[in-house]
Amino acid sequence: MSSDPYDDRGNKDASITNPKGMGSQIPKSSGTSFSAPGGPFLIGDTMTGGYGKGPDILHDCTIAVEQGEIAVIVGPNGAGKSTAMKAVFGMLDVRSGSVRLDGEDITNLSPQDRVAKGMGFVPQTSNIFTSMTVEENLEMGAFIRRDDFSDTMAQVYDLFPILKEKRRQAAGELSGGQRQQVAVGRALMTQPKVLMLDEPTAGVSPIVMDELFDRIIEVARTGIPILMVEQNARQALEIADKGYVLVQGANAYTGTGKELLADPEVRKSFLGG
């Protein structure tokens, strides 16, 4: 017997239920922000929290990104990298600590409200609308904008020329690398003040990975600070202005990308010597 009265009790009958694309539970939020000047552009400050009523996954974890920088979160599997990112975006119950963006405390805002405040988030999986065309994906990205967004769309097409070519094609038919470009393009459509990428190169070939990194640097050059979780620690730290190594939900090492690459401890434990 399961304890959750609202689960599916083992039902697999797709002719009466359609669980595909169903949403996940997102913590309730009071929905107010207040000004908290000073500090970095975006910071998740000493965050402690976990999913729902579950145990704490993050322990006093701090992650920050400054204007015009790329910050990278690396660490072993299960270190809470993605969880830290979700905490900054409000998809996790943060029990203590705070999240501040551009001089404003947004700890109590829901993810949608954070999008409106200028955060762009690209989840690791299910980050595109597979049944919709590339162009419709971008349009949905700009859903909160009531003004004319054709300029932004042209900019995204300039950044990712392949998307312009495939704009009438269903996004689900594209290759892994192209899908990631759609996902990043969708997040850029709101003209975010900060872009958060959760393992943008997961599951793509090394060649495509290099290309994606180049594109991410290009995005950063347009002045948007980027906070990124990466599996490929070495490559990510090479392009990072700031790096965070997480272990078991807590900060283990922090420094510039170069410092971390040079640090013998970090090299030994995470970069394979």
Binding site: Y6, D7, D8, R9, N11, D13, A14, S15, I16, T17, N18, P19, K20, G21, M22, G23, S24, Q25, I26, P111, Q112, V115, A116, F121, P123, S126, N127, I128, F129, T130, S131, M132, E136, E139, M140, G141, F143, I144, R186, T190
Partner: protein, 336 residues
């Protein structure tokens, strides 16, 4: 001459009724498929939503008739239809607010909502019978035929007559308009695209700033409109009897599943597949065969594959075949 007679008999007894019935099923299946695609469960209350919407339309029609308002050759029910639709929209939004939303907030799995909708079915069913009774109700007025069999025979000199009822004409025209509007809405408008986005990926839709409650509200409004139109057209064409709508649930679900659940084009195609299967299998083909076969081979029986009493078995068998052979339906549905 015999060939022409056979064609006319075919049109009269098989084709025209099949198209009209198919349009009604397609409209019903569209509602079911939208709920499945966007709210992610099979809405068993759809048949009774049709009944309640049609009931409201019938009551307003009677009111208009008592006031002496009419549309001339067209049935007064068309004038009452917007009121029926408004009633159904309010009813579904009220149901959503009081019942479905509770489960949505808990992120209850769809199978829970299926059973919830079954409960709603019984309540709707009871309310309909409480208000209007379980009997047949006649609310048709206006001109009965666009082409009547007698006029057709006189004009063409054929032995077979072709009749085309006003209700059949209205059904087909309304279905075409409604379907065109629905597709335009889903593919061209901002709200329609946001519904497709929500159906595709709820979390990402939320991250894009799409308000889920708004998507759900628009969905229920469209579903109420489709259900009421389908219910009224069926009632005009056949007759309004609360229980027939509950029975219609089977062919409607069969149509939606055959076409591919969650796919609007599939729902329409499925509607016609089911309607034509039902009509052709339960029709006594003797009438047409006597014109086509030589006298010596004239069939002695009715050449009816199945009695009309078993017409629901037809949709059930088609449903089974499709689920066994192509579970995602003729057009690619979401039930993979």
């Amino acid at each position: 001459m015999d060939l022409l007679n056979a064609i006319v008999a075919f049109l009269n007894y098989v084709f025209v009724p099949g198209v009209a019935y198919g349009s009604q099923l397609a409209l019903g299946a569209l509602g079911v498929t939208l709920v499945y695609g966007i709210l992610r469960f099979s809405n068993f209350a759809h048949g009774d939503t049709m009944a309640l919407g049609a009931m409201a339309t019938v009551l307003v029609t009677w009111l208009f008739q008592s006031w002496g308002i009419s549309l001339g050759p067209l049935p007064t029910a068309l004038l009452a239809l917007p009121f029926g639709i408004a009633f159904a929209i309010l009813l579904l939004l009220f149901t959503d607010r009081t019942v479905y939303r509770f489960y949505r907030e808990k992120k209850a799995k769809p199978v829970i909502l299926v059973i919830v909708s079954l409960g709603i079915t019984f309540i709707y069913n009871g309310v309909t019978r409480f208000i209007i009774g379980a009997d047949d109700q006649n609310f048709f007025d206006g001109q009965r035929f666009i082409i009547s069999a007698r006029e057709f025979k006189k004009a063409t000199g054929l032995d077979e007559g072709l009749s085309f009822k006003t209700t059949q004409g209205i059904t087909i025209i309304t279905a075409i308009i409604v379907v065109a509007l629905l597709f335009w809405f889903l593919n061209r408008t901002r709200a329609g695209k946001s519904m497709r986005a929500y159906s595709d990926n709820e979390d990402l839709a939320l991250l894009s700033g799409i308000n889920p409650e708004r998507v759900v509200m628009i969905t229920w409004m469209i579903v109420a409109t489709l259900a009421t139109i389908a219910g009224v057209l069926y009632g005009l064409d056949k007759s309004f009897k609360p229980f027939t709508y509950f029975q219609l649930l089977l062919p409607i679900f069969a149509a939606a599943i055959v076409g591919g659940l969650g796919n609007p084009i599939g729902a329409i195609a499925g509607g016609f597949v089911i309607a034509f299967s039902e009509v052709t299998i339960t029709y006594a083909w003797k009438k047409i065969l006597v014109y086509l076969m030589p006298d010596s081979l004239e069939p002695s029986g009715l050449v009816q594959l199945m009695s009309t009493d078993y017409k629901f078995a037809v949709s059930f068998v088609i449903l089974l075949i499709v689920l066994l052979i192509k579970p995602t339906g003729l057009f690619k549905g979401q039930s993979t």
